[in-house]
Symmetry: C2
Subunit: 236 residues, 2 copies
Amino acid sequence: MIQAHLLHQISLFAPLSPETLEWLGQHTALHEYGKQEQVIGKNEPSTELLFLIKGRLLVMDVAQDGQEVGLHIIQPGDYFGELSAIDGLPRAASVRAMEPSVVGKLSRECFQQLMSMAPSVTRAMLDRFALVIRANNKRRVILSINNVQRRVAALLLSYSTPEAGGRKALVIRQLPTQHELAAMANTSRESVSRVLRSLMEQGLIVREGRALVIPDPSAMDRLIQNAQRGAEDSGK
Amino acid sequence: MIQAHLLHQISLFAPLSPETLEWLGQHTALHEYGKQEQVIGKNEPSTELLFLIKGRLLVMDVAQDGQEVGLHIIQPGDYFGELSAIDGLPRAASVRAMEPSVVGKLSRECFQQLMSMAPSVTRAMLDRFALVIRANNKRRVILSINNVQRRVAALLLSYSTPEAGGRKALVIRQLPTQHELAAMANTSRESVSRVLRSLMEQGLIVREGRALVIPDPSAMDRLIQNAQRGAEDSGK
């Protein structure tokens, strides 16, 4: 049982009517997790829809060497676990609490009922899934590049957005950690570190505080294009 | 304008009421395509939902070397183009007619209206997207294997299903072409051909007509697991 004002803070539930929020509150359970505690385990058969009321969670994947790698952070107001809540299959990733956290859980049955009551929830699911599929497609193209420097360069380009002020430069405002970049580019953190250094020396990327600027995107493009022709010139 | 009995053959529309099919027929346009003609171009801004009434279509992606690679075949009764119809963004892949084909097109606006009228259509979209995301996840794990023989082995395993009769063997009833396997495993057709030969010589796979049998799945697993520990032992 959760109070409606808590549910209202979850982006997915914000458009719901007071009656639906009331119903939802009656069907939702609250769980508390300590720091480092596991919320979801990859391949686990649970199927609830989850949402974060308080705290911070880390979505983890298992890298090639068996090490867990943080993929992204779940902030209060976000929902997660929707894939299993839709298709009933085991969890696709692990989630762990980065700090003491409060998580709401809605059973798959109630979630399906909610979707039939609230088209905005279904719409949000479709939009989220489309976003995930687009991101996967982008990533697949990047992973098909056989050279780690050019692969990381393509990844950086994919994260960048036009800089304010109409300059041709692109900027990555929230640069992922080297661990995250390594997981996305399917390489080691050491390789990412080496590539970032090399790209900086070539003037292709410039650090500005927490942001990273790509002053000449077409030069980055040329670097990446060479890779797709040259192929196996330096492996991963 | 399409007659309801034609629409009824499309799996997505089969559960619809006669009234909804009637409405749908009034909002659908028929297009004919000659052999080799392009139905959709990757990155094109079109956003209709499409479905195949007659013929056969090939979904294509652009490989690393710029060559187009067939990814999968669309059969009569299938729908496609749903990603752009949901999110309004450009096409994620190209589609070409393999033989003279008849395609139905529903505008994005009508498709959205259809989803609000027919929950079964929305449900089918969610299920399709979940399937695509699961397949992408599986593929990402496979692509993270740094050795082409083990990567292709993992791909074959992912395509296989238990054989009838309770034997421990797995079988791939519809083996994809070597081109398709190459595109999925991010390698060349020549490498796929070489790996298949080698796996056959090792007795790990056995050809049986159009099907491929994996007589000892745990032996295949061991081969793949070694790769994930050994990592860069033979490149791609």
